[in-house]
């Protein structure tokens, strides 16, 4: 059996999915590398969270995208169950307001038939209300696609990585891959900020930076990724306008349109904007007043009205990696042997991720003539952190009896208990990520609520400080320390 050391650059949704798929086989020793302190902190945590039906993918212009999107949509139903990822499948309505938009929308019916997307049809105004009570009554119709879903994208990455690590994947965080090392046209490994890592195969899933990585391998030198910034606004859970279906405006050539969805966490979210930034602006995730006003306007097109703006609890932005011409760059290279590009995975990247992973494996097997040997004891299941939030009081009481930590509520807005926070910390360490306050947030939804952490962030910090045995000020929030020192550090003249 041929065994390969595989280094995957980037622990986002793509890299993690590939790692999971590879972990099913004896042939691969996988190390998953990410420059951040935790997994999924790039585009994977700041997107619209949609599992697309794929009737918007042009099968003639982008056949690979269309094919893998449809497959991915199906596979997510399995993966979300196996991996206990919060997901729901409400279906979506592409809303149109005039005959021009209706004409555009009809195009997607044709795509749907070509791509094999089930149940797509136009619903006109009189029927529309019964589909979605919160819809803008001025809309003349919508294209209904029942196979649309939404899941928690950052929890998805975490779940996939936990399962991968459980099945032998090694995670290396806080490690910046600087270049791919090649000798005699064969990949030998990657040079990183933490030293050289040997690898027979390097898979480039580095998101926004996949172009740089590819260039260091001498491949696709004309391939450049533009960051496409998308802003979002999130409303508090307790608003009265929460669409059941996924709503979105009719797409434009630039973007999939703006969505209004009720996330799996129960929040109304509107977004994204779509703004192309210069190639080197790969860290510019600023929100803007223009973006905010634009999203309000678009949201009003979709919904009968918006909740009061005082109910906005968060505005954020993410960067999506936009390849030239919208084409995904997925290729398994013979020259250099061992380098694989999975780059520029723009929308429908999240939807297609599991299918992309299988596709890459398939390509690898064929090009590199690998005889796959399935692992006998591959565990497909992963269970999420138990929360008292979803239990009734009798179940909660029993749980507290077993573990009193479940009775100590830390995040009041989202009802996250000390037990869950401790478990989140354990899980971060178990996969080999660095414990941070943000890492705990993403695993428990603490600080995601109305007060945005003003009540509980320091309580979470206290728990983390106690568990790790390090002083409060040395804890890391997302990238930097919670404090610059103890309160007398400046008076002592130490800074």
């Amino acid at each position: 059996m041929n065994r390969f050391k595989v280094a995957i650059v980037g622990a986002g949704i793509i890299g993690a999915s590939i790692a999971r798929v590879l972990s099913m086989y004896e042939n691969f020793d996988v190390v998953l590398i990410d420059k951040e302190l935790d997994v999924g902190w790039g585009a994977s945590k700041a997107n619209t969270s949609i599992i697309h039906p794929c009737h918007e993918e042009d099968p003639e212009k982008y056949p690979l995208r269309a094919k893998l999107c449809v497959e991915g949509n199906k596979i997510w139903k399995e993966w979300s169950r196996e991996l206990d990822i919060p997901a729901k499948w409400p279906g979506e309505l592409m809303v149109f307001h005039n005959s021009d938009e209706e004409k555009e929308v009809r195009k997607y019916i044709w795509f749907a038939t070509k791509n094999g997307v089930p149940g797509v049809r136009i619903v006109y105004r009189d029927e529309l209300q019964s589909f979605e009570q919160n819809i803008n009554p001025d809309a003349i119709g919508a294209l209904y696609a029942p196979s649309a879903g939404t899941l928690s994208p950052f929890e998805a990455v975490i779940a996939i990585v936990e399962n991968g690590v459980d099945n032998g994947v090694k995670l290396l965080v806080d490690t910046n891959v600087l270049s791919v090392k090649i000798r005699n046209n064969v990949v030998v490994g990657v040079e990183t900020s933490g030293g050289f890592i040997e690898a027979d195969i390097v898979i480039n899933a580095a998101g926004l930076y996949a172009d740089y990585i590819s260039h260091t391998a001498g491949v696709a030198k004309d391939f450049w990724i533009k960051p496409r910034r998308g802003e979002y606004i999130v409303f508090d859970e307790d608003v009265d306008i929460k669409p059941v279906k996924i709503l979105h405006t009719t797409p434009t050539p630039l973007t999939k349109g703006v969505y209004a969805i009720t996330t799996v966490h129960g929040n109304l979210m509107i977004g994204p904007t779509a703004e192309d930034l210069p190639i080197d602006a790969k860290e510019n995730k600023a929100t803007s007043e223009n973006g905010y006003s634009y999203l309000i306007k678009e949201g009003e097109k979709l919904l009968k009205r918006l909740p009061p703006l005082s109910k906005v609890i968060r505005r954020f932005a993410g960067l999506r990696p936009e390849p030239p011409n919208g084409d995904w760059l997925i290729d398994v290279y013979i020259d250099p042997w061992g380098f694989i590009n999975v780059a520029g995975i723009r929308s429908p990247g999240l939807t297609a991720a599991p299918a992309i992973a299988k596709y890459v494996l398939d390509l690898m097997v064929r090009r590199y003539e690998i005889n796959l040997v399935k692992k006998k004891s591959w565990n497909c299941y992963r269970v999420g952190i138990k929360s008292i939030r979803n239990l009734n009081i009798y179940e909660a009481d029993k749980l507290i009896e077993r573990n009193p930590g479940y009775g100590k509520v830390i995040c009041y807005c989202k009802i996250v208990t000390e037990a869950e926070i401790n478990e989140a910390i354990d899980r971060i360490m178990k996969i080999g990520a660095r414990p941070t306050i943000d890492g705990i947030k993403f695993r428990t939804t603490a600080c995601f609520g109305k007060c945005q952490g003003s009540f509980c962030r320091w309580e979470i910090a206290l728990i983390l400080s106690k568990k790790l045995g390090i002083p409060l000020h040395k804890l890391i929030v997302k990238k930097c320390n919670y404090g610059i020192g103890d309160i007398k550090v400046l008076l002592r003249g130490e800074k």
Binding site: D238, E283, K285, A286, T287, S288, E289, G291, Y292, S310, V312, I313, R314, R315, F316, I388, I393, Y394, A396, D397, I400, E401, P404, G405, Y406, G407, K408, V409, Y412, C413, I415, T417, K450, C451, Q452, G453, S454, F455, R457, W458, L462, P471, L472, H473, V477, K478, K479, C480, N481, Y482, G483, I484, G485, D486, I487, K488, V489, L490, L491, K495
Partner: protein
């Protein structure tokens, strides 16, 4: 599951809650106080500055000294309390039976209560409730969080500080940072006048040469990993940005002291009527909310600047609870609404009976000098009124009982 029964359940062991619980006990009522945290005391525990207790105890104490006195009162009066208790829900079985479900590490408590006194305080406005865009780096704290870190846990959040909001909380934190050696670059205030007391502007800003930018707003935060700077601009009289006035202030820490909001989610869930002016519950003179038997006091009722008033409201609510229990409900009255007139932002309580003297708590919309504060024929001369300084006055019964048109209006008029 632990089942209990009490006359009074107090939610929140801050100054209003503890004062309410002690009073309630003194009035002979079976009382329990539920507290989220693992200690009693609430916010005053982290307030190391004086200004607490001048009215309530007759002496000027720091917040921590003040609350210790209240906690000692509680022990003396043997008030039951539950720590680490999160009130998950309030259910209304009947007119005078409420069920309070509390999550604690000992298990779930189901407490049958005849009355509830809700004193869960306020929450702070956070970054996204302000018109600030830009990056979301590390180094952004609310003022309360910064205060907790510094004065309970001895942590210094940063060294180059910009504070948003010149209310007393912001001013106090400016002084704290400056005293501990940090460089407070500026306090940014959107209104044309300071949000806090003049004495605090003197003691907290002038003393330390901290620049105060009135009529300005932070419009953007800049920073990749940690805060690196803020962009500030002048605003006009409508609080709209004036283009061309933007400037950058380098800093590594942003402290948001942009105001408090009554923390009443739990009450809203049971359907309590809320006053959009005070952002707290609508109450009658017994401090009873629109749900019979549920009372509110302290910052959960209305944002107070003096802890003394929060404690006083706690006691009034306890008296209200006693009246409720003794009479099987607050007796039906011909309640009169106090309307809000010229230059009044809000006035609490909202409904009076005309049968008793009533203490009212009010704030003006904008600062004014040499005015009358009046409620119908009751009139008091005041030199300066400012939104930052709550007006607290005991209005004699006869003002309400001599209403001819059953309309009462509170207003501020120039002399």
């Amino acid at each position: 599951m632990i089942e209990k029964k009490y006359d009074v359940v107090v939610i929140g062991a801050g100054p209003a809650g503890i004062a309410a619980a002690v009073k309630s006990r003194k009035l002979g009522l079976n009382t329990v106080i539920i507290e989220n945290r693992d200690i009693l005391g609430g916010i005053p525990l982290q307030c190391i500055h004086p200004g607490f207790g001048i009215h309530y105890f007759g002496v000027d104490l720091t917040g921590c000294e003040f609350i210790q006195r209240l906690i000692d009162e509680m022990s003396k009066n043997v008030v039951d309390y539950v720590l680490n208790g999160y009130v998950y829900s309030i259910d209304i079985y009947s007119y005078n039976e409420k069920l309070v479900t509390v999550v604690t590490p000992k298990g779930i408590y189901r407490i049958e209560a005849k009355t509830i006194i809700y004193t869960a305080g306020a929450r702070e406005r956070h970054l996204f409730e302000l018109n600030i865009f830009g990056d979301r780096p590390d180094g952004i704290y609310t003022a309360g969080e910064a205060q907790t870190l510094m004065d309970l846990y001895g942590v210094l959040p940063g060294k180059d500080i910009v504070i948003i909001g010149s209310g007393d909380v912001g001013l106090i934190m400016a002084r704290r940072f400056a005293l501990e050696g940090a460089n407070v670059r500026a306090v940014i205030e959107i209104m044309p006048y300071p949000g806090g007391l003049m004495r605090n502007v003197v003691q907290c800003l002038k003393d330390f040469n901290i620049p105060l930018y009135l009529g300005h707003s932070v419009i953007e935060i800049i920073g990749r990993n940690r805060v690196e700077a803020v962009k500030v601009a002048k605003v006009d009289e409508n609080l709209k940005l004036i283009k061309g006035t933007e400037f950058i202030l380098p800093c590594d820490t942003v402290v948001i002291a942009a105001g408090l909001i009554p923390n009443i989610d739990l009450l809203e869930k049971v359907g309590v009527a809320v006053d959009p002016r005070s952002r707290g519950p609508i109450v009658n003179e017994y401090l009873e909310t629109s749900i019979p038997g549920i009372f509110a006091a302290g910052n959960a009722l209305v944002i107070n600047d003096l802890v003394d008033y929060a404690a006083e409201q706690g006691e009034l609510a306890a008296e209200g609870a006693k009246t409720f229990i003794d009479n099987n409900g607050i007796p039906t009255k011909d309640w009169i609404k106090i309307d809000v007139g010229r230059n009044i932002r809000f006035i609490v309580p909202h409904y009076v009976s005309g049968e008793r003297d009533v203490i009212v708590y009010s704030r003006v919309q904008r600062p004014e000098s040499n005015i009358y504060f009046s409620i119908n024929s009751f009139r008091i001369k005041m030199f300066n009124v400012r939104p930052a300084e709550m007006i607290r006055i005991k209005i004699p019964r006869k003002i309400f009982s001599e209403i001819h048109s059953s309309r009462i209006i509170a207003e501020v008029t120039p002399i």
